[in-house]
């Protein structure tokens, strides 16, 4: 049996990975699909619904739903000020996908930005996911799992 704090960190890592991967893949597929759908600015919902029929867009949207749900789950135990920087590793992945999959040019400035994000993410991920005062009672004993309503 591992300690509750270790389990909290492990659970946080796994769910963070799901949040980041679903975000990067979802946005990439959405972007690929929207480029073939063409420019979309319309007050009417019909062109949006038509765009959703594009398979790339549909795949992107499904992954973004996974992203929303896993993000909500992560926020049920982790601080927003923890989740924000840690999930920013997605920006690094988007740039890497741009460079190695889409063969976009990545400038020195961008590489510097990527390096800063990675150092920042490493620092934040070493703090406790929940540093607010409610930490102690909530993590030590597993309380209600489905909320009170």
């Amino acid at each position: 049996m591992t300690s509750p704090l270790k389990r909290l960190h492990l659970k946080t890592r796994i769910v963070t990975a799901v949040v980041v991967l679903s975000n990067v893949l979802g946005n990439s597929f959405l972007s690929r699909g929207m480029q073939s759908v063409g420019e979309l600015i319309s007050p009417s919902p019909i062109p949006y619904i038509r765009a959703l029929l594009n398979p790339w867009v549909a795949l992107g949207v499904s992954l973004l739903i996974v992203w929303l749900l896993s993000h909500m789950a992560l926020l049920s135990w982790a601080d927003l000020s923890y989740v924000l920087p840690v999930t920013s590793i997605a920006y690094v992945l988007v740039a890497l996908v741009g460079r190695f999959v889409l063969h976009e040019h990545v400038s020195m400035t961008r590489w510097a930005g990527i390096a800063l994000i990675m150092i920042g993410v490493t620092l934040v991920s070493r703090t406790a996911p929940r540093a607010t005062l409610r930490l102690a009672p909530d993590t030590i004993k597993p309380q209600h799992s489905e909320g009170q309503s």
């Binding site: 420019e39 765009a51 924000l84 920087p85 920006y91 988007v94 150092i119 620092l123 909320g147």
Partner: protein
């Protein structure tokens, strides 16, 4: 048009994620990831107006993002909308009253600086 969409996305994302954080904090930590338990979580969350408002805001942000990527590159769209990062950290501190220690501040500032460099 591009910048109007960026503004809508940043404001809607900030509102959506801060509301998500409030709603999920009220719900409490999710321990059980089996489908039945997750179903009960979903029905509890469907009764939280914070969560419903959050989902509405995320939907607004999503459709604006969809319009943005139809006219701009992903490598512009993703970093530029990260401006919400700064706004959200502000709300995390002053509205959600999160305790942000020195290491986390340092990390958050590095990430913000890095995202700004990506957006250049």
């Amino acid at each position: 048009m591009k910048w109007t969409l960026v503004t809508i996305i940043v404001l809607a994302t900030t509102a959506g994620e801060v509301l998500q954080a409030i709603g999920m904090r009220q719900h409490g930590e999710i321990h059980d990831f089996r489908p039945g338990a997750l179903g009960r979580v979903a029905s509890a969350l469907a009764q939280s107006w914070h969560i419903l408002a959050a989902i509405f805001a995320m939907a607004v942000s999503f459709f604006a993002f969809m319009a943005l990527v139809s006219m701009a590159e992903l490598s512009f769209a993703v970093p530029v909308t990260a401006a919400s990062f700064v706004l959200e950290t502000f709300f995390a501190k002053y509205l959600l009253k999160e305790h942000i220690g020195r290491t986390r501040w340092a990390g958050a500032l590095l990430v913000a600086a890095g995202v700004a460099l990506l957006a250049l």
